[in-house]
Amino acid sequence: MNIVTRIWGTLISRPPFYVMAIFLLFMLLVPFLTDDLYLIGVLVLANVYAIFASSWDILSGYSGKENFGHTLFIGAGAYGAAYLNLYLGVPPMLNLLLCGLIGAVFGVLIGIPCLPLVGPYLALATMAAASIAERLTMILSKYTGGEEGLYGLDPITDGPVGDYYLSLILVIITTIILMAIGYSKQGLILRSIKEDETASEAAGINTTRYKLVAFAISAFFAGMGGAFYAHYQMYTGPSSLSIIMAVTIIIVCMIGGMGTIVGPVLAAYMLTVSNEFLRSIGDLRLLVYTGLLVVIVLFLPRGVFTVILERLPRFGQKSRGV
């Protein structure tokens, strides 16, 4: 009983928690509200982007180490899923876990050399790493299918609604874990690194370890998302490694509000769905995203949802501030 009241207390006292809970519960009901398979498909895409964006956020939004090559981890998961499934017959569900681990390995491999880098140096290094991977898929086209990519992966569930629920469950798991990390000591230390890395080190914190763990966690969920996406499309190609995709993810996070997890997740839904409404005019995804980003950066630099969440009431708290 005690634990239940404690969880309930935490949930209602923090706007990010209850907003997220209400939103995800609503998303669970969506298939009962609509039969529109196209809309369900759009929401699966939104789920995937929510995973990509929140996994970017736990590293870059929290610690201020902006990763411009998040697609490297996504691509590692997507291509990993393709190889494991096509050549070794690994079932899709197991692949989600395995490819998350593959992603995490890449995260550590990229994380170690990139740890000392800051600002534009890190941006360029991560961007270069992702571009190297993208070029390699072209050069090694014999094994990677080149521009065509790899086809014929096993579907992960038996239909669109199944895909929807599975992806939503992944979003729920991802957000619960990432928010727990964000509110834990790990998250606090990442924030302190963003504010002043030298001061954190001076306070006796082994910042390297925390940054590396953040790289691994971020890459794990990106790899898992990549694997889901590959199985969902039954295909994987070099577009999963493109810089445009990496930039889109950062834009989603910046519009939503970096370092909040909730912001990027909600922004992923907002942008993906609004983009589909605009599809009748043409493929304006990037035009809308980039235009919106500039407006947000100029007028709401901390992101749309950060500002909204701060205005929401905290329930059940009498004296303690957070």
Partner: protein, 286 residues
């Protein structure tokens, strides 16, 4: 024979890279801004030149100048209305300028479509130099690059405005106290650099493909070259441009055309890890 071809084609490629990278380095040096719209200026320069010369039949040279003028104005507006307000936050500058260059790509894509375009050459004859057969325009682009960079060098080192630019680069606050309008210096730098990028776009349009996404790879290369040469160092950028230009040419000739994009990226990644300050940089910019 191959050696001579590499020598000449490498010089042409390096010249274009240097033209882009020097502008990029100049903006960073003076305004401490990493301006990733630089590639979009290059692309816009090419498209405006194309639109004026091919669609509106304006003489080619005037079209190139027109492209430079329009891009100059765009750059000044960009600095005034956007960069000026976010200058202090590096990530905002990086992602906003990158987003704006994607925005420009999309606008051009909507107007002109995804097809590759071609701009006619100022010099359409082929020239034989040291026994190597080369399009006159390529040679012209090399000559223009060298001339423009030399002029810029003279402006910076010999004129009053150049001194003001250098002072701003060294210490914006002190420069302001000396009566230099640093905001205007930032704007001028941005305009000059953008004009150089537009010029590069206008002259390469006859031998490289003109497409909406043409600015994306060059800007990553310019970014790399500038970091390789030490952020903000113009001399370093020129040497790094030569390095990358020749490296790509050598790889294209001796290994495989497919690997041209890969090798410089690997070099950059390794340099960043072992010498983040760049080959010639004394200290990190950040």
């Amino acid at each position: 024979m191959v050696a001579l071809e590499i020598l000449i084609y490498g010089a042409v490629l390096s010249g274009i890279y240097a033209l882009l990278a020097v502008g990029f380095a100049l903006i960073f040096g003076v305004a401490r801004v990493i301006n990733l719209t630089h590639g979009a200026f290059y692309m816009l320069g090419a498209y405006i030149t194309y639109a004026l010369s091919v669609l509106l039949n304006v003489p080619l040279i005037l079209s190139i100048i027109g492209g430079m003028a329009i891009v100059f104005l765009l750059a000044i507006c960009l600095d005034r209305f956007i960069i000026e307000r976010i200058r202090t936050t590096m990530i905002n500058v990086l992602i906003t300028t990158l987003a704006l260059s994607l925005f420009a790509d999309q606008v051009i894509l909507q107007i002109f479509g995804p097809d590759n375009r071609n701009i006619p050459a100022v010099i359409s004859d082929r020239v034989t130099l040291l026994g190597v057969d080369i399009a006159g325009q390529r040679l012209l682009s090399l000559i223009i690059s060298v001339a423009v960079i030399a002029t810029l060098w003279l402006i910076i080192t010999r004129t009053r405005m150049g001194n003001a630019l250098l002072a701003t680069a060294q210490d914006p606050e002190a420069a302001q106290l000396m009566g230099i309008n640093t905001g205007r210096m930032f704007m001028i730098t941005m305009g000059i650099a953008a004009m150089m990028a537009a010029l590069a776009g206008g002259i390469v349009g006859s031998f490289l493909t003109v497409a909406p996404e043409m600015g994306m790879l060059p800007i990553i290369k310019a970014f790399s070259i500038v970091i390789l040469g030490g952020l903000g160092s113009i001399g370093g950028s020129i040497i790094a441009a030569l390095l990358i230009g020749y490296l790509e040419t050598i790889v294209a000739y001796l290994i495989s055309f497919n690997a041209t994009e890969l090798v410089p990226l690997v070099v950059i990644f390794i340099t960043l890890i072992f010498r983040p300050a760049g080959i010639f940089g004394k200290r990190r910019g950040f």
